[in-house]
Symmetry: C2
Subunit: 338 residues, 2 copies
């Protein structure tokens, strides 16, 4: 590592209208700097691609400051410490944090967590053992609160969060019904992950399929997608149902404003609730969630898979896989060929 | 009372599309019958007009069977027993129940509650001491759960339910902000009912006014109206806010489907919940609610007023006042001139 080492980074070039295109990004090269006091220089290895990224590049104020034009794209990632100016980290340790879409990151040590590649391969620390795992854990158990034999429906069910929601539901003794796009994903849900039923929204009438698969109604609906599927689920709620709002990926690229759930009056008829959350709201309980998820993974009770795209420069096209639903498991970028 | 006494009744003639018109109703005359075992013949005195009526005359399945074409319009009302075939009721007692929009009703005694005109005038038994009162009580205290110094916003604030929601909020030590149409209603809220602030949605920018009147955000939003005002309130939620869905009067006559709350993702950012209810869900706790509301009324802590329209035949036009927002207090029909 010398001052002349080059850092390649993906930077936001312009605010996308609707679906982001290749023109909205720049690939830049700059010298890697030196960490200051309390900072750590990390060689970034795997970058997490998440639906929330669409919000981060929008101008609208949200829970996070928008990524500025010309700034390195924000991303959670894992990497290896190569120079530390903080006593908590030494060279060679693996860490996760908001490292950005780049080859090298200089970040405050306070924002880093250690990860152990001997416990699980590094990409899993961005999925089942990372934020998606905690999102599924807290969203389902703290807000959804499924009881044994109740019916849990999750959309985006083959995705990083949804696939865990269904599996955690079955670990609670609940029935899990997943909504996903395409027969392969549906077969994965019922065949490998133990979902009780799967609905292929690309080829099935979701409303009719919810009637068939949820004869007693939906007790917990965990929503990752919004739009028509949210409305279909609302129309099928059981009395006292809990709707968990985790995301709305079908709406993130809408150019004419969000579509609200027209069937929200089903909440009234069914004395049901709809509650939203961000995983950050549970920061004080991360240790609890990480411990339980780790135990389940170690016991072989939670399966997960990762879709690894190789090459930092492929970020713009890889991001679109999320919105097209063509990723196959938790989507990450391997910064370098291994 | 003889078998030749005539009962005038308002019956549903056709299912309205959009706003109901005079043509959607028939005024019929039929002989009054005789109550059977377990039934009571009631002379109907005051009929309650409620936003829920719009749902009852729609074809769409809801919590209540739709009123059939040719059937007497469903309504809660108060009246006087004139013939009882049930030991629990004697002639001359006053009762409330689903008596319908008519002069005489023969109903099962099981569906009647006694009311005492010495405690409060009969129309108040359809408002503050009736279903609107219980709706405000349970919706605000069981779902909204305002804490002292928190901010409670209620729409339809000059209406039968909303005016009580704001007053109960202040009794809990919370701040009450009402949204109503027109300067007179707003003056009533802050001048007579003790609301801390009022927003005139017909003459003010509701979003701007919510920023001014709720500098720390909205902790509890009690919604009676839906539509744009619901979206404006969602945009101003505080962390952990509770949204109570009680009604959506702005949407009940929509001919192109309900409009969903486009800003529902505010629930996610703010870890907020949106919960619906029908007062019937609290049937097992009516006694508790009625006792507390009665105590507050007796202590002069809850003010209410009624808008009494005289004449059964004026039902079709009177109903529209609800949707136009031109009623001044709880809307009831006095079946006869007193």
């Amino acid at each position: 590592m010398t001052a002349t080492t080059t850092n390649r980074a993906i930077r936001l070039a312009s605010r996308p209208v609707g679906m982001p295109t290749a023109d909205d990004w720049d690939l830049t090269e700059d010298p890697v700097g030196e960490p200051g006091d309390g900072e750590v220089l990390v060689e970034v290895m795997y970058v997490s691609l998440d639906p929330a990224m669409r919000g981060w590049i929008s101008e609208a104020a949200s829970y996070a400051r928008p990524v500025g034009i010309g700034e390195v794209m924000r991303a959670i990632a894992v990497g290896r410490v190569i120079a530390s100016r903080d006593e908590r980290f030494v060279d060679g340790e693996h860490v996760s944090g908001l490292l950005g879409v780049q080859e090298y990151a200089i970040v405050p040590a306070d924002g880093l967590q250690k990860v152990d590649p001997d416990v699980a391969p590094l990409p899993k620390w961005l999925g089942v053992l990372g934020m998606p795992g905690l999102t599924a854990y807290f969203g389902l158990l703290d807000i959804g609160r499924p009881e044994p034999d109740q019916t849990v429906v999750v959309s985006g069910a083959a995705g990083a969060v949804g696939s865990l929601v269904g599996q955690i539901a079955t670990l609670q003794g609940a029935r899990a019904v997943g909504i996903a796009g395409g027969p392969e994903k549906c077969a994965y849900l019922t065949g490998e992950l133990g979902f009780d039923a799967a609905i292929d929204y690309k080829n099935e009438d979701v409303r009719a399929a919810l009637r068939t698969t949820c004869p007693d109604g939906i007790d917990v609906y965990f929503d990752n997608v919004g739009g028509e599927i949210l409305d279909a689920a609302l129309a099928r709620l059981a009395h006292g149902a809990r709707v968990v709002i985790c995301g709305a990926i079908s709406q993130y690229n809408a150019t004419e404003g969000m579509r609200g759930p027209a069937n929200y009056m089903s909440l009234l008829v069914n004395h049901a609730s709809m509650t939203g959350f961000l995983v950050f709201h549970y920061a004080s309980r991360y240790a609890e969630g990480a411990r339980q998820m780790g135990e389940w993974v170690a016991a072989g009770k939670l399966k997960s898979r990762e879709d690894v795209v190789v090459g930092l420069e492929r970020f713009p096209e890889a991001l679109l896989k999320l919105f097209e639903g063509t990723n196959d498991g938790k989507l990450v970028i391997a910064v370098r060929e291994s």
